[in-house]
């Protein structure tokens, strides 16, 4: 019993450490547009069945990276391997045409062909593969049913709403039973409510088909919600790679801390080490102990070291015992947002923003005790 358990753990571990061959591998990819480099020497891999998101602000090179994998852009340098087959290599002079890479892709604009019916749209890729007759009918019907569009099968594509077009686009990309699906900002043209529903459906389909997925988005919430792993890109380089919570809790750079969730960036000078060896930062008047086992990273231009403090982690209460990372503070501003309450407080380190629940309200001007747990003070690289 115990042995069996151990073995399972082992298997899980080895999968997690990427012992299996990655399904897609990108090595040292560099891409340029009109002579301007937009992707700089990036490398990553996607395991079989893994959902990887490329997340970043517009112009960070995430879409270009995806389009290079699809073969819609030709990189300047690097190597792309899909299922063990190199589809692009600048050194070996390989560049396999898009149509031979056996991928599927969902576009930001859906790219539903307006001159065809829903059936024709979904059947297109299957027809290219030579599938005909009743098998074709059956497979199109099946995949449309999966996305809940079976009633629209003979509609002209132009009669569909945005959400319906999106479903047809998904059906079209699943119809040929691909092993990998590329999604380029698929939900950015939908309204907020539909976006949430569609991303859940995308996730379900991905799990159902064990699809390797690369998902490009600029919406951090979307990426956090459905990814196994996230790559954060900025100015054509990878800022950080990791599981969603890892990136949220331990941002590596100031950019990541700002881009994902809401964070306070505190800046100070190094002031020795705490008993557990964690660095101490002098922020204004306050001595702030950083997370255990952390190190201060590259300082900014004026020699200040930076640390990120998520707005959800600091605690405030009325009075209480003193201790490390605890200060007396004053509530400057309170903004009720409904589900959460935003506070701006003055503490010896300056100003700090934090989120609380509306269950325990503090008044503006009230004196409180602020506690920033040391484990939530994450030193970050200044960019």
């Amino acid at each position: 019993m115990l042995a069996a358990n151990l073995r399972t753990d082992d298997a899980v571990d080895s999968a997690a450490t990427d012992a299996a061959q990655p399904y897609i591998e990108v090595r040292n990819l560099t891409a340029a547009f009109d002579g301007k480099v937009v992707v700089k020497d990036i490398s990553f891999s996607v395991a079989q069945g893994e959902h990887l998101s490329l997340l970043g602000p517009s112009g960070c090179g995430k879409s270009t990276t995806l389009r290079c994998i699809a073969g819609l852009e030709t990189p300047v340098a690097g190597e792309i391997v899909i299922d063990g087959i190199p589809v692009f290599s600048s050194t070996k002079g390989i560049s396999v045409a898009t149509e031979k890479r056996k991928l599927s892709m969902v576009f930001q604009s859906y790219a539903i062909w307006p001159h065809m019916t829903v059936f024709e749209n979904v059947a297109y890729g299957l027809r290219v593969q030579g599938i005909k007759g009743s098998e074709l009918q059956q497979r199109v019907a099946d995949v449309l049913k999966m996305v809940g569009m079976e009633d629209y099968i003979s509609r002209p594509a132009t009669d569909l709403s945005g959400g319906q077009q999106q479903r047809v686009a998904l059906a079209r990309s699943y119809a040929s039973r691909p092993k990998v699906i590329l999604l380029d900002e698929p939900l950015s043209n939908l309204d907020a409510r539909l976006r949430v529903r569609m991303r859940e459906e995308i996730k379900e389909l991905q799990l159902k088909f064990d699809l390797s997925t690369i998902y490009v988005t600029h919406d951090q919430e979307e990426a956090m919600a459905i990814s196994d792993r996230i790559i954060i890109m900025h100015d054509g380089v990878v800022e950080q790679t990791g599981k969603p919570l890892e990136i949220y809790d331990t941002p590596r750079t100031r950019f990541v801390a700002d881009f994902i969730g809401a964070a306070n960036i505190i800046a100070g000078t190094a002031q020795g080490e705490a008993g557990n060896g964690a660095p101490i930062l002098k922020v204004g008047e306050a001595l702030v102990e950083c997370a255990p086992r952390s190190k201060l990273l590259k300082p900014d231009g004026s020699g200040q070291y930076l640390a990120a403090v998520r707005t959800v982690y600091p605690e405030i209460r009325r009075g209480g015992p003193d201790g490390p990372n605890q200060w007396s503070a004053t509530v400057r501003r309170r903004v009720l947002l409904g589900d959460i309450v935003n506070y701006t407080i003055t503490w010896p380190g300056g100003l700090l923003r934090l989120h609380r629940l509306p269950s325990d309200l503090f008044e503006e001007g009230e004196t409180v005790k602020l506690h920033i747990p040391a484990s939530r003070v994450i030193p970050v690289v200044a960019d």
């Binding site: 699809a70 560049s95 002209p156």
Partner: protein
């Protein structure tokens, strides 16, 4: 068709200046087809030796010096072009405003009718107005003198003012189209903002709308100006009797004279090219950086303005335009085509269809001209659209360097008055080893080149609207380049292909400037045939031929309209 759908291409070296075949092949062809005739024109213009020699044996400026003795030709050209443009733009602005921005009754019908005079063309206009506005026996003057008992004519169309008037009313539809399109793209909030600040309707129109329309107005003005500088039919048919020469018909006379004075004609042609080049340069300079600053690509639904008591004045203006540019000219030609002699009589008993039988069946030259023109129109439509589509796909889809240059060179023929181009082109084909002179193929080639800017503009507008992702999605689905073109690109382009094709058909059928020198006795086409018929007299027959031309064009217009409606429904 799909420029970048190539097979596994060699990997591009980093940041190279990479001009691919889909760009340089059309560039070289266009440079040859435009540059060589221009070069021949240039050498001839500076030829001071034997006027028939080609290439020239002696160079000098004598031809340009000789031109100073004929400054009236250039002055008249400028007078007609400036006057016609000013009047045409005024008509265009008012009509575009009426159609798109007012609550005038019958706006949609006006929009339809106002577009027609342009494709009907200058030949129809000149022929009709010479019978309407001739000082003694013009229909308008006859009616006027009959009703008032006066012995003085009301109007004289055989004057510079008459020429300007006819030029303006037949070019105005282009201005309505260009300015109207800009009016529809204008964000009405800009005007509403002005009204909120308390400006009245007139003040808003003057201070906000008009300046916003300036880029469109200037573009329309440039189009009209260049086309009037090169116009031939109207000034020739209305000006010759009073010895009013503009550059184009001066060139025609120089070439038809014996011996033909090629060098002087070439020098005059160069001056015309220089004038259009200056106009293009000036407009581009003014427009630089402000073309679409405030006009978005999106179609708004601008708020129509109720013009109150001005409504009926505007209505009368619109009616007057349709009457003067469409109903009266076509009616006059129709009536004239039923006559037995040049004098129009309203005695139905004498009216006859004999003239139609003559031009359509009995007289070989016109019979062939009609057939040839239809053939040429179809061929120009098909081949011209194919070329334009290829270039449009390349300029919008290819990754090659040099695409902006290709686009500019494609638009270059626009700055070449068509008559001058045809003159250089004629020389070019005479120097080629292939026997092209006097064949329909020569006319076809010239048509394709001179109408390329028009076709490119049409197709470019269509290609740019097709989301690139539609083609990419097909490739992701596993379709190769040919299959993508067949199943996605071409079906999506089809409405644009048909509309542009029919447009090319119409402008080819009505063309005269480009075919005047190129259609030989064995390859007659309609435009020059009408012109030479007019030259040799016989109003009833030439009117019948013009009516035939107009009917062909009206049928094509109906087809366009039908296609557009069908597409709008889909």
């Amino acid at each position: 068709m799909i420029a970048d759908a190539g097979e596994p291409a060699a990997v591009a070296p980093p940041y190279s200046f990479n001009v691919r075949p889909e760009v340089w092949i059309p560039l070289v062809l266009l440079f040859g087809a435009l540059g060589y005739p221009f070069f021949l024109l240039l050498t001839s213009a500076f030829n001071v030796g034997d006027p028939q020699a080609l290439p020239a044996v002696e160079y000098g400026l004598a031809n340009f010096v000789a031109l100073t003795g004929h400054l009236d030709w250039i002055g008249n050209t400028l007078l007609v072009a400036f006057g016609g443009t000013a009047l045409g733009i005024s008509i265009g602005v008012v009509l575009a405003w009426v159609i798109h921005r007012t609550t005038l009754p019958g706006r949609r019908l006006f929009e339809l009718l106002i577009a027609i005079p342009y494709p009907l063309g200058p030949l129809v206009g000149a022929l009709a107005w010479s019978q309407l506005g001739a000082p003694r026996d013009g229909l308008i003057n006859r009616v006027y003198m009959y009703m008032t008992g006066s012995s003085n004519p009301l109007i004289d169309i055989y004057t510079p003012l008459g020429i300007i008037f006819v030029e303006a009313i037949f070019e105005a539809p282009v201005a309505v189209l260009i300015i109207g399109a800009a009016m529809q793209r204008m964000d009405p909030a800009l005007e509403e903002c002005s009204s909120i600040f308390g400006s009245g309707k007139i003040r808003t129109a003057w201070k906000v709308t008009l300046p916003l329309m300036m880029p469109a107005i200037l573009s329309a003005a440039l189009f009209m100006f260049t086309s009037m500088i090169g116009s031939f039919a109207i000034p020739t048919m209305l000006g010759t009797s009073s010895r009013f020469y503009v550059s184009t018909n001066a060139i025609y006379v120089l070439l038809q004279g014996y011996p033909p004075n090629y060098p002087l004609a070439a020098a005059l042609g160069l001056v015309l090219v220089a004038m259009t080049a200056v106009a293009v340069w000036l407009v581009q300079r003014v427009l630089r950086g402000r073309t679409y600053a405030v006009i978005s690509g999106k179609n708004y639904r601008p708020r129509p303005v109720n013009m109150g008591r001005w409504t009926w004045l505007l209505f009368a203006l619109a009616c007057a335009y349709v009457l003067l540019s469409l109903i009266l000219p076509l009616g006059t030609l129709l009536v004239a085509s039923f006559q037995t002699s040049n004098a129009i009589v309203f005695d139905f008993a004498t009216w006859t269809l004999r003239n139609y039988v003559y031009v359509m069946f009995d007289f070989p030259t016109t019979r062939e001209a009609i057939l040839n023109s239809i053939l040429l129109g179809i061929a120009t439509g098909v081949i011209g659209v194919a070329c334009a589509t290829f270039i449009a796909v390349v300029t919008h889809r290819s990754r090659s360097a040099g695409r902006p240059l290709l686009e500019q060179v494609t638009m270059l023929p626009q700055a070449f008055p068509r008559l001058i181009f045809a003159f250089g082109f004629l020389w070019m084909i005479l120097t080629l080893p292939v026997q092209l002179y006097g064949t329909l193929a020569a006319v076809l080639l010239a048509y394709i080149i001179v109408f390329l800017p028009l076709a490119y503009r049409g197709m470019s507008g269509v290609v740019v609207q097709i989301d690139k992702a539609l083609e990419e999605a097909a490739r992701i689905s596993g379709a190769n380049a040919a299959r993508v073109a067949r199943t996605v690109t071409l079906p999506l382009l089809r409405p644009g292909l048909l509309a542009t094709g029919v447009l090319l058909f119409m402008v080819s059928v009505r063309e005269i400037s480009a075919s005047l020198f190129l259609s030989g006795p064995n390859s007659p086409v309609l435009g020059p045939a009408i012109f030479s018929f007019w030259d040799s007299g016989g109003m009833p027959r030439v009117s019948a031929l013009a009516v035939v031309q107009a009917v062909i064009i009206l049928i094509a217009l109906t087809v366009v309209r039908y296609l557009a409606n069908r597409n709008a429904k889909v």
